[in-house]
């Protein structure tokens, strides 16, 4: 059995930042990651990272934009922390080696982004996430952090409700490893593969959310799913908002810049939920291209700009759509991209209520950060460029929180044999099924398609209930799923079955949140309840496990500091 004071699960930006902070505070910390850390999906963040570091900008303005972007569902105390502390984190990243694009004075340059009243998105061409992720990895090499790579965590261990460790499957060898710890930071990213199609990578299966849920934590605002306005039809791959930030237009089939009708001031740079809805309405009005797409036009930006600041976009469009964006507009459509919801935490990453009043259900000793968590800074809709900031600010804070907590408690005990046997018998059960049974990939595709049919840009009761019913029906069939591969080494077939199990918990919680919220707010746009209803629904929806193991819905108030809800227009 391995022992560490703090264990971070997840090797993306939030996880690395948490581990870095915990290590800097002198704790014995280790990181466990399903894939090699630089393979994490943080690398796919293209456009940039927001913070009020520029002259004439203020963190209060950033906070207000974020509150408004969230459709007032974000907790304002958390948003203040994000925006006030953000600039120092950006400076810290620069000093670690991030090669931000510069202005004429040699300072960090910024580009315009959606939903922002000021130009405040710091960037590295259109590969911001990749560069920051790699620089953070460099820092972990420098500090000599212990990393357990290609380990899939299958269970969080607890003693009397307190986190005591976790169980992991070493993917290359098939060995089971048990870890004992005082505190765990979950930073496993989003839930992308629960949807089909999605911009997210194949490794993004929401395991962390399901692990936390099963350990007693609350999942909050799960219905708040972001569909990015510009994704490729062929494979759902992301085309950065930076394209519109640099001035690209959205056109319908008759060549009209339709955003002028939906958001007269911000046009293409309105919030993502607004733009995705506008695109869908254009398609429904019969002004679509390629069936369900509209056009992203970069032609007027010129070769120089595209080839220096949007190089990746040029390549993705060329490779996956056969389009030369310098010469013709690119067909795009809204696609699943991000979950604003996640594991309910406070601003220090704690999943449990530290006041002891039990205002929400949590797991003591369990922390969460990044897309896995819901602090909540994004509320009903996340602004582009705020997710990277979320990972570095709350990654750092949860790392610090975990160390402080770990120092205040002793070791909780772990029954190593029971833990090993638990996973072994689970695997044995899967292996015992006939090899020609149901494939996990088949159910995964059914789930993803159902989610995208019923809980996407526009929603209604009937569609959501149908999706929820489909998810529950798929859950029933889980015991039929079998594998071809019964070997030990790098058994991704087995992994796909284990992942599906977690993904279905996540999908169900998204569905439960969605059918509960009877209003339209942020990304949750209901055709049957088209208006925002602050009187009844200015509150968080939480899904947690009841005593008898069933998913149960509850509510939490939204924290307001200085911004009263007003009508949201762009």
């Amino acid at each position: 059995m391995r022992q560490h004071d703090v264990i971070v699960i997840g090797g993306g930006l939030a996880g690395m930042r948490a581990a870095q902070q915990a290590q800097a505070m002198g704790a014995d910390v280790a990181m466990i990651s399903k894939i090699f850390p630089t393979r994490s999906h943080s690398a796919a963040a293209q456009g940039g990272i927001n913070a009020a570091v520029g002259v004439g900008d203020s963190w209060e303005d950033h906070a207000y934009d974020t509150v408004k972007g969230s459709d007032y569902l974000g907790d304002q105390d958390a948003i203040e922390v994000l925006c006030e502390e953000g600039p120092a984190d950006i400076i810290a990243l620069e000093r670690m080696g991030v090669i931000f694009n510069r202005n004429g004075e040699g300072q960090i340059d910024m580009r315009a982004f959606g939903g922002a009243t000021n130009v405040r998105t710091c960037y590295v061409a259109d590969q911001t996430g990749q560069v920051i992720l790699h620089v953070m990895w460099e820092q972990l090499l420098k500090s000599g952090l212990t990393v357990y790579s290609e380990r899939f965590v299958t269970e969080l261990l607890q003693e009397d409700g307190r986190i005591s460790g976790c169980v992991a499957l070493e993917i290359p060898t098939g060995r089971i490893e048990i870890f004992q710890t005082r505190a765990i930071v979950l930073a496993t990213g989003g839930i992308g593969q629960v949807y089909y199609p999605t911009t997210n990578g194949l490794a993004v299966t929401g395991d962390g959310l399901a692990l936390a849920y099963r350990a007693g934590a609350s999942l909050m605002d799960m219905e708040m799913i972001q569909h990015h306005p510009t994704t490729l039809k062929a494979n759902g791959v992301l085309i950065t908002e930076g394209a519109r930030g640099e001035g690209a237009y959205l056109l319908n089939s008759v060549g009209e810049r339709f955003m002028e009708n939906y958001a007269p001031n911000m046009k293409e740079l309105a919030s993502r939920d607004v733009v995705s809805r506008a695109e869908t309405m254009e398609v429904r009005a019969g002004r679509a291209v390629d069936g369900d797409c509209v056009l992203l036009d970069l032609r007027h930006l010129g070769r120089d700009l595209v080839m220096t600041k949007l190089t990746q976009i040029f390549e993705l469009a060329r490779d996956y759509a056969g389009t030369n964006v310098l010469e013709e507009p690119l067909p795009i459509r809204p696609g699943h991209h991000y979950i604003m919801g996640g594991i309910k935490t406070d601003v220090d990453g704690r999943t449990w209520d530290p006041s002891g009043q039990g205002r929400w259900k949590g797991a003591e000793g369990l922390f969460a950060a990044g897309e896995t968590a819901n602090v909540s800074v994004h509320g009903g809709n996340r602004l582009g460029g705020n997710s990277l900031l979320d990972t570095v600010v709350f990654g750092r804070r949860s790392g610090a929180g975990a160390v402080e907590y770990a120092r205040s408690v002793g070791w909780a005990s772990v029954n190593e044999n029971a833990a090993i046997n638990g996973l072994e018998s689970r695997i044995k059960d899967i292996f015992s099924r006939p090899s020609d049974g149901l494939r996990a990939a088949t159910l995964r595709r059914q789930m993803g398609t159902a989610m995208n049919d019923g809980i996407a840009v526009f929603r209604n009761e009937e569609g959501m209930q149908k999706t929820l019913a489909t998810i529950r029906a798929i859950k029933e069939r889980l015991p039929e799923v079998s594998v071809h591969n019964k070997g030990r080494l790098f058994n991704t077939d087995l992994l796909s079955v284990l992942e599906l199990d977690y993904m279905l918990d996540v999908a169900e919680s998204v569905g439960m949140g969605a059918v509960t919220r009877k209003e339209s707010r942020g990304a949750h746009a209901r055709e049957d309840f088209p208006d925002r209803n602050d009187e009844d629904w200015l509150k968080h929806i939480v899904v947690a496990r009841s005593e008898d193991g069933q998913a149960e819905v509850g509510f939490l108030p939204v924290t307001m500091t200085k911004w009263e809800p007003i009508a949201r227009t762009y």
């Binding site: 894939i35 090699f36 630089t38 393979r39 999906h41 690398a43 796919a44 570091v53 950006i90 400076i91 620069e94 000093r95 670690m96 080696g97 090669i99 931000f100 694009n101 510069r102 040699g106 300072q107 960090i108 340059d109 590295v124 590969q127 990749q130 560069v131 790699h134 620089v135 460099e138 820092q139 090499l141 420098k142 290359p172 990578g201 194949l202 993004v204 062929a234 494979n235 791959v237 992301l238 220096t308 990746q312 390549e315 993705l316 490779d319 996956y320 759509a321 494939r439 990939a441 088949t442 594998v483 071809h484 591969n485 070997g487 030990r488 080494l489 790098f490 991704t492 077939d493 796909s496």
Partner: protein
């Protein structure tokens, strides 16, 4: 579109030797090799193992040999390689041991990365805010920062095939990223370590890494950049640097390469005599020994003037 895949298979726990298996998949327009392999793994044969995640050439997981060349499976469109043959062959990366099927052990890759000190080492007092540096100086690094550490260049490196100790194109491209960073305080020290054996002078400029790199990092060019940096900073006492200097001097003054002088210069006296004697004798027997007395060309002065005008 129906596509045939011929895939390397090996499970060291059950197989004596590697084997190959053929699959046929149906892919849409813009279908990639990765989508083909996923179709195999998901529906036809779940025993196939490979690494993959982002599907958009940014995570660096799915590098493998496709029709003999190392490429990212997610970035390789079937339509791009159709002309290479009816059946697409898929193999694990080279220069790294196989764990299972298309999954290789990249430990040596990461270990070499670590030896180049792959992190910024600033010196002096911290600036109050961000470091003030020009956009050009950062974008020069962006070329190397494009590297997603997929391993394709290392897989196709011809030097690594014969010399396992070579740092290799990926680690050296990473080295460049720090050696050329104006915010780093250890440039000289870095260059000193990179000119050691197994470093920048061991690249044979075969260009395979440039062809293999899916992100246009052009690792060999980054190695050449560092050779220039090393010579410019006075690190001329390595075989590679002496070779470059001897080559250039000979041509500058005689318009022609003096091979004997170059060997003396590169290897140093009297070492060159011992080290190169067997090679010299072989060439003598094949009557391919260069003239012992070097004679320049008649218009050598014009060559010298070209050198002088170029300031070298």
């Amino acid at each position: 579109m129906s596509t045939k895949l011929d895939v390397y298979r090996f499970d060291p726990e059950t197989d004596q030797d590697p084997s190959r298996k053929q699959y046929e998949v149906d892919l849409p327009e813009y279908g990639t090799v990765l989508e083909g392999l996923l179709e195999v793994r998901d529906a036809q044969d779940g025993t196939l193992s490979m690494r993959c995640s982002c599907r958009s050439a940014i995570c660096g997981s799915c590098s493998m040999k496709i029709n003999g060349q190392s490429r990212l499976a997610c970035k390789t469109l079937i339509s791009q390689i159709e002309h290479e043959g009816e059946t697409i062959t898929v193999d694990p990366m080279g220069n790294m041991p196989v764990i299972k099927d298309l999954v290789v052990d990249m430990d040596s890759f990461w270990d070499k990365m670590k030896t180049v000190g792959p992190y910024l080492k600033p010196e002096g007092p911290e600036p109050e805010r961000e470091n003030l540096v020009s956009n050009d100086s950062m974008m020069r690094l962006a070329v190397a920062m494009n590297c997603i550490m997929c391993g394709a260049c290392v897989s196709d490196c011809t030097v690594l095939e014969v010399d396992k100790s070579f740092l290799g194109p990926a680690a050296l491209a990473k080295a460049f990223r720090f050696a050329a960073d104006p915010r780093d305080g250890h440039t000289e020290e870095r260059l000193k370590s990179y000119v050691e054996p197994s470093g920048i002078w061991d690249c044979t400029r075969c260009n395979m890494c440039v062809q293999a790199c899916p992100k246009d990092v052009e690792p060999m060019e980054r190695i050449m950049d560092m050779r220039v940096m090393a010579i410019e900073s006075g690190l001329t006492d390595s075989r590679g640097a002496r070779h470059v200097e001897g080559f250039s001097n000979s041509v500058k003054h005689s318009g022609l390469l003096d091979e004997f002088a170059l060997a003396r210069k590169t290897f140093g006296f009297p070492k060159w005599g011992f080290e190169l004697a067997p090679f010299g004798i072989r060439r003598l027997l094949r009557r391919r020994l260069p003239p012992i007395i070097h004679k320049g060309i008649s218009t050598a002065k014009r060559v010298t003037r070209i050198f002088e005008r170029l300031g070298v």
